[in-house]
């Protein structure tokens, strides 16, 4: 079965959305989505690593002996994450400061290693790049939506623009609100996609 490049990208958005369908990478999802901007930055950071590591792994996979493939993949992923860290520190220090610990943690994000194992090591470089782009975009969109919902309910603002004076429902900015908002979004996502399937 050969899927078109376009399909490769769109499947990451809906059918195999990493957050709403595969439920992968929950740690950064819950922790960094206190606002829409934070969620989007985290998503874009993961997208960057995902596309590059998918391409590098797809290109090198035929030469890597089977038994050491996981350590080799992790080194490749860690190298891209560190590069990203340097770049963010240099050019977007404010975002780097808010995301802080979660940037190095992209190394152990199961989405990235998962795509390397499940897709990149069996497919061509271009297909793997498309797959990384699709999954990365799906992750970014999911995190932005979750961040937006939490920001709207929790602080009454969207992308940093305040609509109401004072505070919103504070719990949504805190950790329990992340779980609640994510749960409702998954329900909503399932309902919408189930209708489409009929």
């Amino acid at each position: 079965m050969i899927m078109g490049k376009f399909q490769l990208i769109t499947k990451g958005l809906i059918k195999e959305n990493p957050t709403f369908v595969l439920l992968l990478g929950m740690c950064p999802t819950l922790a960094t989505t206190t606002s829409a901007i934070n969620g989007m930055s985290m998503g874009l950071a993961t997208l960057f690593v995902l596309v590059l590591s998918n391409m590098a792994i797809s290109a090198t996979a035929p030469y890597i002996p089977d038994k050491v493939r996981i350590p080799a993949y992790i080194v490749i992923i860690a190298a891209f994450v560190t590069i990203l860290q340097f770049i963010m520190q240099a050019f977007t220090p404010d975002i780097y400061k808010t995301l802080g610990l979660f940037i190095p943690l992209i190394v152990v994000n199961c989405i990235v290693l998962g795509r390397a194992e499940a897709f990149a090591n069996k497919n061509s470089v271009v297909d793997s790049a498309c797959d990384g782009l699709g999954i990365g975009l799906g992750f970014t969109i999911a995190l932005t939506i979750l961040g937006l919902v939490r920001e709207l309910l929790g602080s009454g603002s969207a992308f940093g623009h305040k609509f109401i004076s004072g505070d919103g429902i504070l719990v949504f900015v805190l950790a329990p609100g992340a779980f609640m908002a994510l749960a409702y979004l998954i329900v909503l996502f399932k309902k919408v996609t189930a209708k489409k399937g009929e």
């Binding site: 035929p62 890597i64 002996p65 080194v75 560190t82 520190q89 240099a90 220090p93 805190l174």
Partner: protein, 191 residues
């Protein structure tokens, strides 16, 4: 699928992957080293400029030891006269260390304060970064007003439901004044 694993090719492969990755990292590090330093420097200068009155030239960085603890501070001057000091202090808040930069003018009045880092509860203690709370320390004269929250008999208006954060903030500012006195004492001794 992939190559048959043998001791030799596994070692070689991991070695090659590591060498290439480190070479790549070294290159990116070399390129971004300068912008990172510039960004960090700009951040410090910005924080200093917020808490002290107008100054000229570069702030002079130094540290002083007060009661066994080391405090980094920056001295700024205008037209050759000392204009004030920006002191970095921290106190433990509700969710960890609360680090402030406090500017004290040459006549021992607090010019302004800014939060360098905090991990207080969002919506409660984290409000200490907002002007509603932080602005009360502007032009605060420690000789006239007591740096304690009202509950403890001082003059600081605490954030509602965040007394611990407010206490930590007041304590940090108070420490900055102590550090300021130590700096002045040391300068006088030197003359």
């Amino acid at each position: 699928m992939a190559v048959q694993s043998s001791f030799k090719n596994m070692t070689l492969c991991l070695f090659a992957v590591c060498i290439v990755s480190s070479a790549l990292l070294a290159a990116v590090y070399a390129v971004t080293k300068e912008p990172i330093e510039v960004a960090e420097h700009a951040k410090t200068i910005n924080a200093i400029a917020q808490v002290v009155p107008e100054f000229d030239g570069e702030p002079v960085s130094d540290t002083i030891e007060v009661a066994g603890k080391k405090y980094p501070y920056y001295a700024v001057s205008k037209a050759g006269q000392p204009a004030g000091y920006a002191v970095t202090v921290s106190a433990s808040g509700y969710g960890g260390a609360l680090t402030l930069m406090v500017g004290v003018t040459a006549d021992r009045v607090i010019y302004n304060t800014t939060v360098l880092s905090q991990s207080e509860t969002p919506g409660l203690g984290a409000k200490c970064t907002e002007p509603e709370f932080a602005d009360q320390f502007r032009n605060w004269n420690p000789a006239e007003k007591v740096l304690k929250v009202r509950k403890d008999g001082g003059d600081v208006d605490a954030i509602t439901a965040s007394t611990i954060t407010s206490r930590a903030y007041s304590l940090a500012v108070e420490t900055a004044v102590t550090v300021y006195d130590a700096i002045v004492a040391e300068n006088n001794k030197g003359e």
